[in-house]
């Protein structure tokens, strides 16, 4: 069997008293798009930055293409491309100059003009970095990550803070990387992103991988239940919703009750009856088919973006 392109084993990292990583382990195969999904502060960025050679782990093994990111220097950097959580360049550097500057550092170089076209930056080639919108800056960061035609691409929250349209554009770019058989490690706290883009996902929480598998497997692990979210005019007694027909699990988040039900229609009928009996009313009701969010709630008891 081929060696994994990325191998992480028992990674630990602390910042003072804060334990960011507490034994993270996973492997990524060649050509795979692998996602680290978790809330802010889960340890995703620490993991990626250790793999990029930008941080030193306290303990554990990190290997990319068989190389130690921290010690392999130039040979390692020639093989990877990365988009940091926040990329910053000098304000007065033009788009074309930025991409050409970074391309010159590598032995193996992609065609920068083609990259600019591919990332829809051709018209902005003479614009200063300070004149770009958030989406354009992120597209430039992605283009810069590919100037050396890397074997492995690290994308740390590549769509965070971008509007939905730009986010979709970036999804298209990542799907293109997937078609090009690049190995991609992606961190995100967007469920949609992980479900749409990743071949496999590791759910990370409080410095640990708490579940790992294909998005489909992880969703199925939440027992094929439907998520029902309701808001009521008055609070309801503890446990009353959990006892409704079909409900396997019920938790309260910010005034909303989130139930998982194996028999959604029966649960709703039972809910309406219960509310009538208690002189309570529905403010809103939403139903969702099983998602990674459900898997996360089941595993941690919290929402992903809490």
């Amino acid at each position: 069997m081929a060696e994994p392109v990325i191998k992480v084993e028992g990674l630990y990292k602390s910042y003072g008293p804060v334990e960011a990583l507490r034994g993270v382990s996973f492997e990524v195969e060649e050509g795979e798009v692998f996602g680290l999904l978790g809330p802010n502060g889960a340890g995703k960025t620490s993991t990626v930055e250790i793999l990029e050679g930008m941080r030193t782990p306290d303990r554990g093994i990190a290997r990319v293409c068989g190389l130690d990111p921290e010690k392999s220097g130039i040979e390692f950097k020639e093989k990877i491309g990365a988009v940091l959580q926040a990329t910053s360049l000098p304000d007065k550097l033009r788009v074309k100059e930025a991409i050409e500057l970074f391309a010159r550092f590598y032995q193996r170089r992609a065609n920068t003009d083609e990259l600019l076209k591919r990332f829809q930056l051709d018209e902005k080639r003479t614009a200063f970095y300070s004149q770009l919108s958030g989406g354009q800056k992120q597209r430039l960061a992605l283009a810069m990550a590919l100037v050396n035609d890397p074997q492995v691409v690290f994308l740390d929250e590549p769509t965070a803070g971008l509007d939905p349209q730009v986010r979709r554009e970036i999804y298209d770019i990542i799907e293109e990387l997937k078609r090009d058989k690049k190995t991609v490690l992606l961190t995100t706290h967007y469920i949609e992103e992980a479900e749409r883009l990743c071949d496999r996902v590791a759910i990370v929480d409080q410095g640990r991988v708490i579940a790992l598998g294909t998005p489909r497997d992880l969703k199925h692990a939440s027992a094929g239940t439907t998520r029902i979210e309701v808001r009521l005019t008055k609070p309801i007694a503890d446990g009353a919703l959990a006892r409704l027909d079909g409900v396997t699990d019920c938790r309260e988040f910010d005034g909303a009750y989130v139930m998982h039900s194996s028999r959604a229609p029966q649960t709703i009928v039972a809910l309406v009856k219960q509310l009538e009996a208690e002189d309570n009313e529905l403010q809103s009701l939403e139903m969702f088919s099983p998602s990674l969010e459900d898997a996360f709630i089941e595993l941690t008891g919290r929402r992903l973006r809490e």
């Binding site: 020639e78 926040a86 000098p90 010159r104």
Partner: protein, 303 residues
Amino acid sequence: MAANVITNTWTLTKVRMLLAMRNRTFLFFSLIMPLGFLFFFVLVLAKGRAGWIAYTLGAVLTMTVMGSFWGLSVQLVTFREQGILRRFRLAPIGAGPMLASSIISNYLMTMPTVVIEVLVCRWAFRMTSWGNLWAIFLLVTFGSAAFSAFGLIVASVTNTMQETQIINQLIWTGFLFLSGATIPLAIFPGWIQRLSLFMPATYLATGLEAATTNLAGMREILTDVIALSVGILVAFEISRQLFRWEPEAKVSPRAKLWVVAAMVPFLIFGAYENLAGTRLEQIQKDYHFIQQVESHSDKLRRD
């Protein structure tokens, strides 16, 4: 490997020059302000007298060259604080090319100002001779590199821009007023003169003043060039060792002691000059020589 380092250094040098030329603040501090100083010094302090114009040119050139110290530390800290250095860290380049490109680009950007200052003095203010141009060239070259490297050390040992500005201000004031760059060293009390021999700026200022007034040849400036060269090597290596790519990477108080190590060559040169050297004597002699020549010329003009 070495070829890569050279290529990367040159690539970064070109980009840094480009960025500097697009920066109005840089143009103000590197061109307009030094020329402002030149006009002020020549017209107000030297009062247009030939001997003093040449002496003044040495002082203004010193200030122009020392400006590298301030500009580079601020630029490096800004790049680090804004997270720009982090992006460069992902690329196959090391701290060496990053630092070397700062020094080279700064030198190349300082040279036009130096040339303009010399030409203005010679042609517009009718300075009687060109001075020793080779000596000026060597001192400007080594001085620019040395003061850039000192600036990089400040950037390496400070954690915030505020800290950088405070340390720069303190060191800059010393460099400016105790080296002979603004006030002739010869008129200071003896103990200040002796103290000034421990400062790198003194070697640049006295060397340049002697070179512009044609009172020193290549042999006379050799000690200055050696002192500045040793300063460059030590300061560059220390700043390379302490270089930080990350905004949140803080330098420990103990690491700040490396600044003292950067001063060791000048402590040695200072001790030597104080105990066995003739520099102070020479400074007095040169200053009084210009004074005598000028009072003689004044007398002739009056007669």
